[in-house]
Symmetry: C2
Subunit: 253 residues, 2 copies
Amino acid sequence: MGTTQLESVPEPKYWHLKTVLSEALDAEFSVGEILPNERDLAARFGVARATLRQALEQLELEGRLQRRRGVGTTVAPPRMGVAVGAHGQAWPGEADDTWQPLDCMPAAPPAAVAGQLGTGREEPVHTVRRSRMSHGQPVAAELLYVPAASVPDLSAIDVPSGAARARAVLRELQRLPLQRQENAVELGSARADDAKELDRLPGAPVLVVTTRYLAADRTAALSVATYRADTCRLTFGDSGDVEIHHDPENQAS
Amino acid sequence: MGTTQLESVPEPKYWHLKTVLSEALDAEFSVGEILPNERDLAARFGVARATLRQALEQLELEGRLQRRRGVGTTVAPPRMGVAVGAHGQAWPGEADDTWQPLDCMPAAPPAAVAGQLGTGREEPVHTVRRSRMSHGQPVAAELLYVPAASVPDLSAIDVPSGAARARAVLRELQRLPLQRQENAVELGSARADDAKELDRLPGAPVLVVTTRYLAADRTAALSVATYRADTCRLTFGDSGDVEIHHDPENQAS
C-alpha cells in the first residue's frame, strides 16, 4: 500500500532533484523566504550547478519558486485562482467585471486581430487598455479591440481619451445584444509593455486568453488578455469562486 | 494612419530581433521547414548568438518554432484549437468525449488530489489513464482519479485491469447524477511519463487542466490533464468548434 503501481519510467537526474527540492521547500522554507545561492544548494544536494539550475527552472515553471532581479530566488505563494468567463456571458465592463479601464486609443490592430474583426488592413479600431488586479497584485493586462461599427453612436467629442474614453466605448458596446462569448487559452511570452505592467521581464511566460464577443453572428469585439503564468491559475466554470487546488492566503491588498 | 498610437515602450534587442525573425518566417519559410543554424542566422541578422537564442526561445514559447532533437529548429504549424469542457457538463467518457482510455490501476494519489477527493492519505483510488489525439498527434495525457466511494457497484472481478477496466470505471461513474464541473488551467512542466506519451522532453512547458466533477456536493472525480503547450490552444465556450485564431491545416492522421 502507498506505493503507486503505475508503470515506472526512468527520470532524468534534475527531475529527481526537483522532487527532492520540492519536499525540502515544503519542510524547511516558508513562503517568501530566499533560497540559499546556487553554489551552496548544489553542494548540499551533491549535484552539478547545471543540474540544479534545470531543477530550479522546473520549479519556477510550476509556480513553486519565483526569481526576482536583485532579490534572488524565493519560495512562491500558492497560485491565485482567477476566474475567466466565470459569470457566463457578459460584455466587458458589465456586472461584476473586475477589470480596470486605463485608456483608449485608435490604432490599427495586429493582422490576426483585424482578420477576426473583419476590419480592413491598417483600419484603426478603438483599442481599450485594461488591467486586472487580484489580492493587491497586477495579474493581467488586456487589449480590447472594438471596431467603429460596433459602437456607431460613440461621440468623438465628449470624451476624447483616457479612462473616461475607455468607459464610454464599453458603455456603447454594451448596447448590443450579446450572442455569446468564446474563450481560448494558450502559452505566450510577455510583450514589453505588458511585462512592465505585470512587473515581469519581457518574454516571461504568460497565459494568453483570447475572448471573442459575438453579436448578430459577427465578432463585435476581441479581447487579448495576458495573465502572469507564475502567479495565476485560470478558472472556468459555473461558479465564480472556483479554487481547485489551494486557496490563496489572505493578503492585504 | 497605420502607426499605432499606443505609448511606445523601449524594447530589448532580442525582442526587436524576434519581430524581425517572425516577419522573415512569414515571408521566406513554410511550415515544417528547417531554419539555418544559429551561427548563420546570427550573422545574417548581425546579432550575437546569445541574442539570437533569446529570440528563438521567445518564438518557441509563442508556438512559432519547434525545436526537435536530431532535427533542428523548424517552423511550427499553427496551434490546434482543442476544445476543453466545451460540451457543457458531462462525465468523462460520455457523449462525444474524444479521450481514449488506456488503463486503470489502484494507486494512492498525490496529497493535493487526495485533499480534493476527501480520501485518506495513502488510500488508493481508481486511477484511469487516458490520452487524447488531435489531427493524428498526441495532444494531451490525463490521470483521472475516481475514489471507490464514487463507483460502489464496480466489480473487482469481471475486468481487473487495462483499458476495459478503465471503461468499466467510467461506466459506473456515469451512473451518478453530475451536478457540475469546474475547470482550471495553469502552466506546468511535463512529468517524465506524460512527456513520453506527448513526444516531448521531460520538463517541457505544458498547460495543466484540472477538472473537478461534482456530484451530491462532493468531488466525485478529479482529472489532471496535461496538454502540449507548443501545439495546443485550449478553447472554452458554448460551441465545440471554436477556433479563435487560425484553423489548423488539414493533416492526414
